[in-house]
């Protein structure tokens, strides 16, 4: 895609291959984690990140550097949404043919898992702080994966990626009002679930 005449006039610097590489390197881990919270499967998460990176490299590689983060977030969210859609269709078909397989998947995300974790949390209260932190991260990540999709998206974009409400709304393709609603619900749900397990973050 060609830079617009205004871009050239303003002297906006377009991303060079090295800059694109550097940008992707800086975002890939967080993108992978985001995809993992949504897809709950490492291979799918890797595929989603790779597809998003390929789309960015193929179509928007010669955009100004400062536009890359927003573009990438938008592409990532769309790729994730495509994944959910495909998964939904696949689940419908598999549940049509065999009711056992979908039951098994649902049971994989049972509240029992959380109960087990809260026990683990309370038992070894003393030892190394790094272990404690890892357990906390595991609890938070599990809670995040269990949030409704839109709430998780809004929370991660707004608080983790540091986008403002307008940018989050643009990346999610919804209004600013619903971003605020999703965010506050997500924050509330996470805080409630964490304090219910007795977790207090530093």
């Amino acid at each position: 895609m060609l830079p617009s005449p205004q871009d050239i006039r303003k002297g906006i610097k377009l991303a060079s291959p090295a800059e694109l590489s550097h940008f992707l390197e800086s975002v890939e881990r967080r993108a992978y984690k985001q995809a993992l919270y949504g897809a709950r499967d490492e291979q799918s998460a890797l595929d989603i990140v790779q597809n998003a990176m390929i789309k960015l490299a193929e179509k928007y590689a010669d955009k100004p550097v400062n536009e890359l983060p927003m573009l990438f977030q938008r592409i990532l969210q769309n790729t994730l949404r495509d994944h959910y859609r495909r998964q939904k269709v696949r689940n419908t078909w598999t549940s049509l043919f065999s009711s056992f397989s979908t039951k098994g998947e649902e049971e994989a995300f049972d509240p029992l898992d959380i109960l087990q974790d809260s026990d683990n949390q309370s038992a070894p209260s003393g030892p190394e702080s790094s272990l404690e932190q890892r357990q906390m991260i595991a609890i938070i990540e599990k809670d995040l994966s269990q949030l409704p999709t839109r709430q998780r998206e809004a929370f991660l974009l707004r608080y983790w990626e540091g986008l403002d409400t307008t940018e989050t709304a643009a990346a999610m393709g919804c209004s600013e009002g619903s971003v605020k609603t999703h965010c506050s619900r997500a924050v509330h749900a996470l805080a409630k679930s964490l304090s219910a397990k007795g977790v207090e973050l530093p």
Binding site: E25, V49, I54, Q133, L144, Y159, E200
Partner: protein, 125 residues
């Protein structure tokens, strides 16, 4: 869970603290995953269109838009060409039939023009 925990103010678990832990978790990914991510990044970068040639070519030459780039596009192009071939072949194969129909039609036209139509045609109306 018990009621005491629900009454606790959620201020301690602020989104900023959660975000900090998430960043820490992303920074401490295992080496296998980071290797896979690096490979994914290299695949993506290899798909990046060459910088200078894009700027030079896209000044008015739109021919590169017509050439398929991905395997899916090639597949679609081949399907389209095959469909075109089949339809053309069937058109040529059945090319003789319309002439027969035309003869029938001209026979009818002649009958209409010369008022030689049989009565049954009017009765059907």
């Amino acid at each position: 869970m018990n009621n005491d925990t629900l009454d606790q103010t959620p201020d301690k678990n602020r989104p900023e603290s959660i975000a900090k832990l998430l960043t820490r978790s992303a920074d401490t990914l295992d080496s296998e995953t980071t290797d896979k991510l690096r490979r994914a990044r290299n695949v993506a970068l290899s798909r990046q269109p060459a910088h200078n040639s894009v700027l030079a070519l896209s000044s008015g030459n739109a021919a590169h838009l017509l050439i398929p780039h991905t395997p899916q596009q090639w597949f679609a192009t081949i399907i389209l060409l095959a469909a075109l071939l089949v339809s053309l072949a069937s058109y040529w194969h059945h090319g003789a039939e319309p002439e027969v129909n035309n003869q029938d039609m001209s026979h009818l036209d002649l009958a209409i023009l010369t008022d030689d139509l049989p009565m049954e045609i009017f009765l059907d109306l």
